[in-house]
Amino acid sequence: MSYVIGIDVGGTFTDAVAARDDGTMISTKTPSTPPDYAEGVVTVLEDLAGRIGTDLHGLLSETSYIAHGTTSTLNALVIGDVGRVGWLTTVGHRDSISIMNVVGRYAGQGPEQVQDILATRKPAPLVPKRRAKEVIERIDYKGSVIVPLDEDHARQAIRELLAEDVEAIAVSTLWSFRNPAHERRLRELVHEQAPGMYVTLSSELSPRIREFSRNATTIMSTQVGPTLSRYLEPLTDRLRGHGLRGPLLVMQGTGGTLAAQEAPKTAITTVGSVLSGGVTGATRLAEQLGHRNVICTDVGGTTFLVGLVVDGAPLQTTTTVINQHIIDVPMLKVQAIGSGGGAIAHLDAGGNLRVGPRSAQAVPGPACYDQGGTEPTVTDADLVLGILNPDNFLGGRKKLSLERARAAIKEHVADPLGLDVEAAAAAVFAVQNAQTSDLVRKVVVESGEDPRDFVMYAFGGAGPVHCFAYGAELGVQSTVVPLGPSAAAFSAYGLAASNVGVVKEVSEPGTFPVPALAVTKTFEDLEAEARTALERQGVDLVDIGLRREVDVRYTMQLAELPTPVPSGTLTDADLADVIANFETRYARTFGEGTGFSAAGFQFITYRVHATGVLPSTVTLPDADPADGAPVEAALTGTRRALLDPRRGFEDTPVYDYRRLRPGHRFTGPAIVEVPTTTVAVSHQDTAEIDRFGNLVLTHTTEEA
């Protein structure tokens, strides 16, 4: 017997899944334990072991590997709990991190925040000027040395940094990705004075053109690297002490993992760690269900995340925004579009009903949680409308106060609008659904896709309550609520099902035509680097997959599109095919006839995605088979509920998910109570349980 374990550490809950090599799966959920998240990790493992009928040592000694998604990196950056870092850069260009290309004043902000211009601010520079030192050196766009590194001057700058008591040093100089000699020498000079000091070179971490984001990426990685080490090292030791022999792997934003001892060196790649589990899980589920295009909506109490699977592969991005800084990290594209169930309903200064973007957060939470929240949230409206069951929320683990929900809606929405509480709740519900469909649509359309070509997956505690409505309005064919054995921990399942992955890239901006020989050489170098990086993980791999791409753009344009490149030795004809492929992709993403080929083409950044395939394949097991009981056996009764404001309250059948079996079908209106969530089914939907235990909604409504 052997296990693969996925552990997803979120802000509120730590979820875990154990997949056994006989195809069965066990999942569980325990509270997270900030600030020492390791405590929760051990607890959830003990809980898993208990469910399997063994102890922690028994489980870990039979575990092939653990894949771990961690908030550690992102959390540290968001709350500013980062290491004291020094930064070395090219003379004359230190202010890059305060100028922030101007975009730092608004990057990552929603339209309402951008519009309130007087309230927009830049964040504090990543490093104050006393810890940002210029060194005398200059390299130009070709990689030619214009001014050699002044080593005496650099030694002095390093001395000053060390006097500032820095624990790590980031090195990022202009055009270092074209010629890393000065950065490498600077590391040697740091180690002359401070042997063993944690040093990150931009030319190794993120050798990509555009110094502001490269500087920010390098500095942020340096700020969290030591922090991540301090988390992972003792955790590894502890798990080893409990018998773990296989590796502890850490999830990155790409959906691929790294070994715990290697991850801190490139810490910034773990920043999307907790976001990618859900999309990775959805991608695996989509393979099993035969879906090529999927909109993944992960709706929790405080966040609403959207990711896309297009043509079987999760959509990737090459940059992201953290604390208003542009960060150059390849990762799965997961966008936060709203505040989930905690979105607050309120009246704006004009007396108009609005929902979100402000959230009640985990504390105080919705009014109905009775934890001190007094503002009405979407969850409060769901309760008033009878969709949520106050006595059976999250399998009865949380009691909800209908009274508090009603009071909050009455005071803040119903009375000021002159509505009764039910009508006000219905308005909040309808506004939230319409708004969600607008925002999800924006994500899909801006990726150059049409929602009608997609199936939607809805997971997280709050997604299944509303997915029938926003799914139908989006015009998707059907909506799948992933349930079954992984229901409690879909993201953790995604982690368990993932492989080891590294991405290697380098900018060598050039105008097409670029010599095929040079391109081949660049890719071969990147592939060699990627293989070395995989080997360094010290993990047994059954196969290595390499995928090449190059970021292409029309000369003068901002938008660069990653475009696949064939493997092996490249010819001019291959590169012409790459350009043709780029043009096709461009037209698909930005619209037919929008390409401007007369401007010419430029290759900017070359990239290799390397996947190290792990020996165990984790798939979703079948649900318990049908036992011959009719679907009516799962009916627990009816209650008055409102799912469609045009129909009002009606007697709505309520099903207990635990008694539903594959093949069971019913039509809405209906409510399905699942121990981890509640699924609403409209009168225009048909619901069916598939063989994995998922609830599949088929919509007959038209998109709006």
Binding site: N101, I209, E211, T511, L558, G593
Partner: protein, 766 residues
């Protein structure tokens, strides 16, 4: 001075009463509208669902335009915008991009309803193209707009518009404007609305008439299609929305969105004092070789819930520094949107009902055809916006509840520097130095201005990385940095601006350069409440610089002294050559300060010195803060230094009475950081000294100091005669008791004294 062209006046579009517009269209053109009852009967749910979906439609339209455009001005600088309008052209929603443009899109629709409905007609499947700034749809000829009537069930339901700055639309110079222009015929030909799409088909003859004029016809053609695409996107989604909810309901929502914005702005205005506020600014040169100074004059009056912007007294149109009516309206909107409407939906149609404009025809800010107007948006329109910002801020400062929205003027103009030549790949290139997007923001009552925060008119501006500049142009950036001391000094400091120093690199031929921008002898980035203005703009070519010799010797120049060469200082409007051994220094504008810098928290000054926002020298000279060798505040020396500075002011202003203590804070209704109301008397908030009688223009009678401009600090150009013949002074109006600065300006010596008058907290009627 150009002479009016008879017959050109029919192209002057002005806001029209919607009922007059409706009555004027032929009966064959059926306009869809709904009555007030439909608006009143909307339920909150329907309103919010449709409002959000309309936002999503408008947003998707802009996204389409941005993605399809091939123009870096669109994709990098966000110099574009879009709108959804009702059947008579009132703007329901506008984009968050170039906020200037919102003030012109409706004008084009009004004009079209008045002048195109009979012949050639306004039909389903039509789209109009326009780049005539007198008609609207943009502020200068580079702003080309495509807008389309939207028909539903045979009725004209509304309009969609998309506008973007085009790099070149013809004229004698690349970029379509030139410092040499005498009139509009030197620039691109303005094209009044023409049907570029008929019956849903792009008309090839019309499209080519448009693209033929350009040095970059393919780019122009691509962007034309981008705008057509944006309109199609809007109309496709709008149609689906109307099919779902019905035309009447959607229209009622559109009307209510505008009414809501109007009512919220009016409610805000009612809380503010009635009165009249004044501001005056300058354009320094009217073209190459000129040394003139041309004034723009504003008196802003607020009565009840209405604003009037009166620009009478502004200089006559001259040279190439003019804008038509659309420009002055845009200037107003560029300040009004962020200052008064940051938290109100940007429904231009509703907001623009709340103000009137008085501007004489034939002046710089309401120029008559055929004045040159190519520079309009970044010249007089921008300058008008600065004045509106200043007046609005002074009004907001007089009420505690609105003081959080007070902000001094941001960078006073766009420092436009264009370079042309042969690039490192031996191709011709033209590029703008876009680093100048990183203006400083003005300071607020409770906050410093955002350093290198960007421009007020383009909320989402962007400055390029040095690496992208060096990859795309044959140059090396010796530095690209924030400029110490550039931010307007104040109790709250204006955001600093920056500079770049550029040398040609890897090019076989000298470069051509165009430098355009005012604010070099006088400041355009005013401070408030005694806060100093931000820096004067400074552009120069360092002829025969030592830079390359230094680089070859292993050193990188870090200052103008090290760059060396002969300093050729660029005036307001200059075309010049740049040799391979020359260097270019470009230093754009910061934001103004708020409050007297002698009252800034010394610890904040010390932090500014550590962070290189302020030099130790300026800390002592301008802020009166003395630091110890290790950068700590020397409290005793600071107090002494500040006392000496105040004594110096007193003596220079001829104040003979005993100095009042400025240590405590006097209670009373605050009129700004320094003034409180005590019955009918205005007193200094710091020492209690009476300043004058409330409701009168008392500031003009208070003691004042006028020194050379350098008195304002190292950030202001010391010798105005470099640029203009008129004398320029640093003027301060002081409290006669404690010598706190109540007003600080860098202005021509004949600049009018302050004359603002306004009513008290409860005296406003209505």
């Amino acid at each position: 001075m150009t002479h009016p062209v008879p017959g050109s006046e029919i192209f002057n579009s002005r806001p029209v009463d919607p009922d007059v517009l409706r009555a004027g269209v032929p009966s064959s053109l059926r306009l869809h509208t709904v009555g007030q009852d439909a608006v009143d009967n909307l339920d909150p749910l329907t309103y919010e669902v449709i409002r959000h979906r309309l936002w999503s439609v408008t947003d998707e339209m802009g996204e389409t335009l941005k993605r399809m455009s091939g123009s870096v001005v669109v994709t990098e600088a966000n110099d574009f915008d879009f709108a959804l309008c009702d059947e008579v052209g009132q703007e329901v929603q506008i984009g968050l991009y170039n906020t200037f443009l919102a003030a012109s899109l409706d004008l084009a629709v009004y004009w079209t309803l008045q002048n195109r409905a009979e012949n050639p007609g306004i039909e389903e499947g039509d789209m109009f193209l326009c780049n005539d700034p007198w008609v609207g749809g943009g502020l200068h000829q580079n702003d080309a707009t495509v807008y389309a009537p939207f028909f539903f069930e045979g009725q004209l339901f509304g309009w969609s518009s998309a506008v973007a700055h085009q790099l070149d639309v013809g004229g004698v110079a690349p970029g379509s404007w030139t410092p040499r222009a005498q009139d509009v015929f030197w620039e691109s030909l303005p094209t009044p609305p023409i049907k570029v799409v008929r019956n849903n088909v792009l008309q090839r003859d019309v499209a080519e008439m448009w693209t033929r004029r350009s040095r970059t016809p393919m780019l122009l053609s691509l962007d034309l299609r981008a705008k057509v695409g944006a309109n199609i996107t809007a109309q496709t989604r709008l149609r689906r929305l109307l099919e779902t909810y019905g035309a009447d309901t959607v229209k009622a929502v559109m009307k209510r969105i505008m009414d809501d914005a109007e009512q919220r702005l009016r409610a805000k205005l009612r809380e503010l004092p009635d009165g009249t506020w004044h501001a005056q600014g300058y354009q320094e040169h009217s073209g190459q070789g000129d040394r003139g100074l041309y004034k723009i004059v504003l008196a802003m009056t607020k009565t009840g819930d209405t604003l009037t912007f009166d620009f009478r007294g502004t200089a006559d149109q001259t040279g190439m520094i003019n804008c038509p009516y659309s420009g002055v309206r845009a200037g107003i909107m560029s300040a009004l949107l962020p200052v008064l409407a940051g938290d109100i939906p940007w429904a231009g149609g509703g907001l623009m009902r709340c103000f009137d404009i008085i501007a004489d025809e034939g002046t710089m800010i309401n120029a008559s055809f055929p004045a040159a107007v190519g520079k309009g948006p970044v010249g007089p329109a921008w300058a008008a916006g600065n004045l509106v910002n200043e007046c609005l801020a002074k009004m907001l400062d007089a009420r505690p509840a609105s003081r959080k929205s007070v902000q001094s003027v941001c960078g006073g103009t766009f420092d436009m520097v264009a370079l042309a030549g042969v690039d490192q790949r031996q191709y011709p290139f033209v590029s703008l130095v876009m680093d100048t997007m990183a203006d400083g923001y003005g300071a607020g009552v409770d906050r410093d201005g955002v350093d290198t925060g960007g421009m007020f008119v383009i909320p989402m501006g962007r400055a390029p990385d040095a690496e992208m500049t060096e990859f795309t142009s044959p140059v090396l950036l010796l530095w690209r940095r924030e400029e110490t001391d550039s931010g307007g000094p104040g109790t709250q400091r204006g955001g600093v601006s920056g500079s770049v120093c550029i040398v040609p690199h890897d090019t076989p031929a000298p470069l051509g350069g165009v430098f355009s921008g005012s604010g070099k002898a006088t400041t355009m980035n005013a401070g408030l409440a005694g806060g100093y203005p931000g820096n004067t703009q400074l552009d120069m070519v360092l002829r025969g610089a030592d830079a390359w010799n230094l680089l070859a010797a292993g050193r990188v120049p870090r200052s103008l002294e090290e760059v060396g060469g002969t300093r050729d200082i660029m005036g307001g409007e200059v075309e010049t050559g740049i040799g391979l051994g020359d260097a270019i220094f470009v230093h754009w504008q910061s934001g103004g300060g708020y409050g007297d810098p002698l009252r800034r928290d010394p610890a904040a000054v010390a932090e500014d010195v550590i962070e290189a926002k302020v030099s130790a020298q300026a800390a002592a000279d301008v802020y009166g803060v003395v630091l110890t060798a290790d950068g700590e505040v020397d409290a005793a020396a600071t107090e002494a230094r500040r006392e000496a500075a105040r004594a110096e002011r007193r003596s220079a202003a001829g104040i003979t009475g005993a100095a009042a203590s400025a240590a405590s804070t006097v209670e009373g209704a605050e009129l700004d950081a320094n003034q409180v109301l005590d019955g009918a008397t205005v007193r200094c908030r710091h020492c209690g000294t009476g300043l004058g009688t409330f409701g009168e223009a008392y500031l003009a009678a208070l003691p004042r100091v006028e020194t050379a401009p350098s008195g304002a600090g190292p950030h202001v150009w010391a010798d105005p005669s470099t640029y203009v013949d008129e004398p320029v002074v640093f003027r301060q109006v002081l409290c006669p008791g404690c010598a706190t600065a109540l007003l600080s300006q860098v202005v021509p010596a004949d600049h009018p004294l302050p004359a603002d008058t306004f009513a008290g907290q409860h005296s406003h009627a209505h």
